[in-house]
Symmetry: C2
Amino acid sequence: MKTVGTAVGAPPRPGLRERKKQRTRDALVRAALELIAARGYDGTTVDDIAAAVDVSQRTFFRYFASKEEVALFVPHLAELRVAEAVRARPRDEAPLETLRRAVLDSWDAINEAVGELVPLELHMRVYRVIESTPALLAAHLRRAAELEEELAGIIAEREGLDVDTDPRPRILVAAFGGVIRVAERRWSAGDDPSTEALRELMRTCLDHVGPALATNWRTTASLKRHNET
Amino acid sequence: MKTVGTAVGAPPRPGLRERKKQRTRDALVRAALELIAARGYDGTTVDDIAAAVDVSQRTFFRYFASKEEVALFVPHLAELRVAEAVRARPRDEAPLETLRRAVLDSWDAINEAVGELVPLELHMRVYRVIESTPALLAAHLRRAAELEEELAGIIAEREGLDVDTDPRPRILVAAFGGVIRVAERRWSAGDDPSTEALRELMRTCLDHVGPALATNWRTTASLKRHNET
DNA sequence: GACACTAATGACAGTCACTGACAGTTGACA
DNA sequence: TGTCAACTGTCAGTGACTGTCATTAGTGTC
């Protein structure tokens, strides 16, 4: 009658030790992001973050391999979801369509997961810091590259290609990743922090991929000059 | 009769002080790359590099803002040449064609500039270290992103577009940059260190951009399976 | 050729990210 | 309840990087 936490389908409730660790980890992320948003990345020391959660610096480094890792924790969550979403797409779908749908569809799941941890508005402020801090931006780009590597592998596998021989999966993913990053940039530069805004930006940018690679922009839609007939 | 160094058309020979600085800088780059190729990036301290050139650590940091900067000095040279080459292309050329030609054409100039400083074979060994060292790869990707930003500006300007409104320049450049990076990777992973090999890889990868973005790879050329009919 | 002027350097101290080692504390589990 | 393993704090040490200040060494001038 007291077998709480072992309900059918639900994962067994982790022990006290595990819960404590989770709490510490969450607290560290929250404190870190708050401090970074307020004082910038370089203006925040690891000691500050550890002190805010009342643990030693050494403990901080047992949870995160580096200061960058905490700062990029939210993007990290998003990356996990995207990879998962790509894997979940039907295998007979066209590669570009798979990537597109995976990113757009996983958005809700991402926001939910992130929102549970930190307010989305805080994430947006941190994202601006990421974009404007060289060291952070570099780390962010590297992780994005790692994700691309993984996605290229998935695509190649389901298309029956050898990723080391045929350059197409990597090229496709690289182009796609570039577009996504453009969308992220525009989002963080704009002033609508809503999640819907980012999704819309991604949609728009993805729709521009075809036209952007066209040979001559001046004869395509959305042209800005040369406006006689 | 002894006004050497002031020949018509040639830049006036810099003074002793300037030449000395140049020599120190070159020596630092060479020593750094040699050590990094031999002992890896993390296995090489700034003190090692400074000691190899017989200057103080403080002096090293007066020449380079960070250890990363020396390690990425050769890629930096290449980036400068590419930006220059893009600017030199005719304004009425299609954007994608401009990027393609600029990269392929600037290759000789790049190799010459690099070769004067360090042996190309050494650069290749260093490049492998860059690819396999997280911190270096991150910095490399960030610089590549900066270059892309610049190229997008150039393209947008000559197409008469506003780079902050129209996403196409950035998207094009992002896709292009992704392809270039794939080519670089394949080069450093292969065993032909020749400059011609890299140029050929770039050509091939660029030719794959169109097909890679096609909706269905299985009906295009170079297909690997589904070989009935 | 001696003389100031200034740029380049070295020596030193200090900050901060990060790591290894060891000892103390606290959940887990019999 | 006691034992074991996991978690944590403390401390010392390394390496990248910066500010400061005294010293050295090209440069232009008379």
